[in-house]
Amino acid sequence: MERITPRSVLHMAVIIAVALVFVLPLYWLTISSLRPEDDIFRYLNPFGPWTFIPNRVTFDNIIGLWTGAFARAIFNSLFVAIVTVIVGLAVCAPAAFALAAIEFPGRSLIFTAMIVSFLIPFDAIAVPLFYIMRGFSLQNTYAGLILPGVGNGLTVFLLRQFFMGIPKELREAAMIDGMGWFQIFWRIYLPLSVPALISAGLIMFIFQWQAYLWPLLIAPSNDMKVAPVALAQFSTEYHVSFGIIFAGAMFLSLIPMAILVGFQQYFTGSVAATGSKE
């Protein structure tokens, strides 16, 4: 740690001021979700101690979130994101394995073609993809919501990089022992790649959790709406209270924030974990 000097104190003060700017809207959203509806705007102007400290705390908004129309949307979001991670890993991990471990003619060509195709940003082709999926009657279905998340170029790339770090000698030894490619993939590569699989899974989870444009197009019905779309629509409807909006916003933020914080700890932890055999 550095010595405490006037310079480092000033530096620290600037850092804290900057962090406050970024955290202020999130803090405001959190305390507003814990306030009775009447209090949300009451103490904003002029600024006072009660602007940022809730003098009355209620859990009504959080309870209301789970009893109203929002509950279904939250379930949809969770279901879509979790299934995307499972199916997405089942699609991307074998592809990454083939591109990293199997030597076959045309490998670099297929790899380049795949990465270049994924350079087309998903949102840019969302509208034509909507016309295609409508043709297959995938509107307002879970399949329609999930499918775009399962093919992820970043995931394939990340897993391939990780698989390439696994020594060639391991698979050569396994082949001598009579293992086939499927066994090598399943019994050697996957168990050695848990940290990479988790990061890949988190990337796909967050992709779906944040999705807005695609669910807005493919799943507009009340039953199939995902939480970010429902939140945006509730926020313009007068019968939904601000308390509920803030509670929904807080819940939607909490999961990725927990992932972000837990992510860093996970990586430090994974270094220690690889040393101990289970």
């Binding site: 970024f22 600024f47 509208v127 933020s253």
Partner: protein, 284 residues
């Protein structure tokens, strides 16, 4: 002899991923191209849709707004991210914690951020009361044609700069300490160290951030859709919002597809330029 056996096995592993690339990226891109070349009720290909959108004042306005937005938002975000990276690249207590706080808005769904900012922008919302502390009167933000684009820029920058900051911090940490030691012995001050060591050494990450940020900003949709719907008076009608409006509000897939093709082409050109710039750097 086992070469083609390996090929067959590899294809089984690759099939689902190849299918998803074809269905999720190539097919929609080709469909957009096909639809963009078919004018309404036409049976032969023509450039009519492109002629139409490039003479349509609404689409031209969205191109103009997108360019104006890009010229402001990209340099602004990069300057802020670089400033944050320099500020946060230190060994002071809790550095990781402060960085995480700046990064938090990236993790939150954009629609959530937009909804929260929409409430903050209300006449009786957080921002006006904050301004009142400094004796500044209430502003109209997203309901004013003069302030709406600036408000969108504020929101997307609050969301995004932490991400670019993280990449620039990684770049800063790759700079060899010896370069700073050498120039300090030569008597350089803080500005000279920044100008002659930090900036040139940061060229690669800065190029990457510039390109990735430009692409990301071309694709901004949720904040516009939620906060302004392109208004007031078209002042925030960024191109993604305009494509969405042509397709789903005006029911004009031809124009939407022509707009999509223009956008995809633009993005691909920028990404390829990025690879070119990064490649050149790699050869030295």
């Amino acid at each position: 002899m086992s070469k083609w056996r390996n090929f067959a096995v590899a294809m089984i592993f690759l099939l689902p991923a190849i299918l998803s690339v074809v269905v999720l990226r190539l097919w929609p891109a080709l469909l957009a191209l096909h639809q963009s070349l078919l004018a309404p009720r036409a049976t032969v290909y023509s450039l009519d849709n492109y002629t139409y959108i490039f003479t349509d004042p609404v689409f031209l306005n969205s191109v103009w707004i997108t360019l104006l937005y890009s010229v402001i938002v990209n340099p602004l975000q990069i300057a802020i991210s670089l400033g944050l990276a320099l500020l946060m690249n230190n060994k002071l207590p809790l550095t990781g914690f402060w960085r995480s706080i700046v990064l938090l808005p990236v993790a939150i769904p954009q629609s959530v951020s937009a909804v929260v900012w929409a409430v903050a922008f209300r006449p009786d919302g957080l921002l006006n009361s904050l301004l009142a502390v400094f004796g500044i009167g209430p502003q109209r933000y997203i309901t004013s044609p003069d302030q709406a684009l600036g408000s969108i820029i504020l929101v997307v920058s609050w969301i995004g700069v932490g991400y670019w900051m993280t990449m620039l911090i990684a770049g800063l940490q790759d700079i060899p300490k010896s370069l700073y030691e050498a120039i300090t012995i030569d008597g350089a001050n803080a500005w000279q160290r920044f100008r002659y060591v930090t900036l040139p050494q940061l060229r690669r990450p800065l190029t990457f951030v510039l390109v990735a940020d430009t692409v990301a900003n071309f694709l901004v949709f949720a904040p516009v859709n939620i906060l302004t719907n392109g208004g007031p008076q078209g002042s925030t009608d960024l191109v993604m919002n305009e494509i969405y409006t042509s397709a789903f509000i005006n029911g004009d897939p031809g124009s939407a597809s022509a707009g999509t093709i223009v956008l995809v082409a633009l993005v691909l050109v920028i990404v390829l330029v990025q690879f070119r710039l990064m490649g050149d750097r790699g050869e030295h």
